[in-house]
Subunit: 396 residues, 2 copies
């Protein structure tokens, strides 16, 4: 038996990890910072999942130049500049920055992670100036989480302590950023997870992939996929303790909770909606229909308008290309049956209930396709005026 | 040789066709009308292209119950109610309406077409009351075009006279509606084309499909696909004249111009943008990348913000899953090179030019993938606050 206990704050709980941030002038707000780091006092194993975008940003291509199963003790992060579509120069710039870092500290295979505007070279002098002002012995998880924010309206951190029956324990904690551009293929989000569990590398790789599929790949803000998406898991084994089942449960939990935070912070979004497909012919079809709902502009605007218009839900299912039939389909808002072949038009009472459900800031839409046993749930949010405003004005 | 001459107004030019509209109280605005008809004084051949949505609306399912190559002399249209997701009842309701019509007039295989809210039965008595007030001998193309509008901000009509070298001529004309929900698979648009050309049925079928592929299937407002999309071509042969090449050119022209009208009327849209992909490995990949651009929320909001942010264009190409490489890619706004491997960051002069191009209400984005010879162009529009407003409040 084991217990998963949620702790306050973030990365500072994990043995041997240090983190912090500074401000080098990449953005006007000094308080927020723009360059951050995570380091471990002993070498870490590292696993990563990167964007499916063909134009992977320079920090990802730089990471992939290291040999398989390399170890590292340092992750450098920056906001405001994605270092994407910057060609070979983008990688050379990272190497230049890391050479400057190596003059200050004993770093092993340092990696970088960036978020911001595409197509501009990193300001090298500014970023290198960070190495004079950063406190490398800080445990400032708040500062690091704040410094990597872009259009995020709140910082995202989580930490768990896992206590085993024999009283031993290990930790898993994360900082994360992401608000817009989040889609099934986890666009423009960065997530750094640190653990002191004594986890073998092959478990890290396997679990990071399955947990990503259960979390970040199930959320959609606007269906776009960025050049920089990254989920990293660092383990320095300092607790000397490991419990496979407990670790996987904690990892799933931390990544799912972070994904929900990102969705709640969807640019201009006010509502979090789960789209559950049941009774589909295949798992693939269930996923296709579920993602079609969480990506549909018409569904998103209906959510924002709090209009219990099940017609848009049904139409999106019909347009998704899956096997379906209006005679076997049923649609629920939370537990309220809102469409079935038996009754099509909402009576006043049912409509009033539907309005009430849609006024909540989180609810579930369930579509039972009625042609099989497969199911899939994805998570979406509404689309508001604010989304358009934020994205029209992003660069300015 | 032949000449294609654009005429004022719409359907009234086509020999033997009559059209008009009335108001039966389905919407408050009496002036606009809500029920319309098109009829021919002799039987017509009819070809149609319908939505790819699995949940085809009742009028489409009713149409498809007629035998292959049936002839008709009457099309009834209504706004405000899609008669979609109404099951068998939806078809019975149409049959009931058509039986009432048959008591008044000698109709042959009448067909129906509806647009509006999903999931409600047609108000039978209201629609049947139209048969008392409609003037069946009218040639009121304006009235019919206005009555079928939903979120359209202007009515859509076009008419061409095709003059052949020997002085003989035929006509082709159309009324059309559509503004929101338009996507590659031509969502919630209705288009009725009438011709007096002596065109064989197999040409009608073939040409309607290829012209749809070149026009309505290349435009995207929001990537959704409705239950009711319909393009119909009616021919009564009354001119006794036909010229295959001239007819096809005129049909392509009328459908392309109508598609551009729909796009210009995209809900809340201000800009019309052509997304041309060149140099792709295959035609399929060119189409995939082009449609990804015209459907991307981030590209759409950048267009609205008039931000020459080529990063979002590049990122969308990279995310589309096609074969591409940032080294061979070039991006142009109109004729202005805005990205190539040779230079990434925009100088001030080029950026100023880019701003100017984006301020136009129509321009072209060209991406040369640089890996092959295939090309494809689709057409999109920007996404504004208005889009969200219109769609959040649609039903109310």
């Amino acid at each position: 038996m084991y217990k998963i206990i949620e702790l306050e704050n973030g990365l500072e709980h994990v043995r041997g990890f240090y983190c912090g941030a500074t401000h080098v002038g990449m953005r006007p707000d000094k308080e927020q910072g723009d360059v951050a780091f995570i380091r471990s006092d002993v070498p870490c194993d590292i696993s990563a999942v990167f964007t499916s975008n063909t134009f992977q940003a320079a920090p990802i291509r730089h990471f992939l130049q290291y040999p398989n199963n390399f170890q590292t003790n340092f992750v450098l992060m920056n906001a405001k500049n994605a270092n994407a579509m910057t060609g070979e120069q983008g990688i050379e710039d990272i190497e230049h920055i890391m050479a400057a870092l190596a003059k200050k500290r004993n770093v092993l295979n340092p990696v970088m992670s960036s978020t911001g505007v595409i197509g501009y070279r990193l300001p090298l002098d500014k970023i290198i100036s960070a190495f004079d002002s950063l406190d490398f012995n800080a445990k400032d998880s708040h500062g690091a989480a704040r410094a990597i924010m872009t259009t995020d309206s709140f910082k995202k951190e989580l930490a768990y302590k896992i206590e085993l029956a024999d009283g031993s324990s290990f930790h898993i904690a994360s900082i994360c950023k992401g608000a817009g551009m989040i889609n099934p293929a986890m666009a423009t989000m960065l997530c750094f997870i640190a653990t002191d569990a004594d986890i073998p590398k092959h478990d890290m790789d396997a679990f990071l992939h399955t947990s990503t599929e259960q979390s970040f790949n199930r959320i959609s803000v606007d269906g776009d996929t960025s050049t920089n998406d990254t989920v990293m898991l660092l383990s320095n084994k300092k607790s000397g303790v490991y419990h496979q089942k407990a670790f996987l449960e904690a990892l799933n939990k931390i990544m799912f909770e972070l994904a929900m935070m990102i969705l709640r912070d969807g640019e201009g979004a006010n509502k979090l909606v789960a789209f559950e497909i049941k009774g589909a012919k295949t798992q693939e079809e269930a996923k296709k229909a579920s993602m079609a709902l969480s990506n549909s502009l018409l569904v998103k605007t209906a959510l924002f308008g709090e209009d219990p218009n099940w017609g848009r839900i049904a139409s999106t299912i019909g347009a998704s290309g899956i096997t379906c039939d209006e005679k076997t389909l049923t649609i629920y808002y939370d537990d309220l049956l809102i469409y079935s072949d038996a009754f099509r038009e909402l009576d006043k009472e049912r409509e009033a209930k539907a309005y009430k459900i849609m006024k909540q800031n989180a609810f579930k839409v369930t579509c039972d396709i009625g042609t099989g046993d497969a199911c899939y749930t994805s998570y979406g949010c509404d689309l508001s005026y604010e989304y358009v405003k934020i994205n029209a004005e992003y660069r300015t």
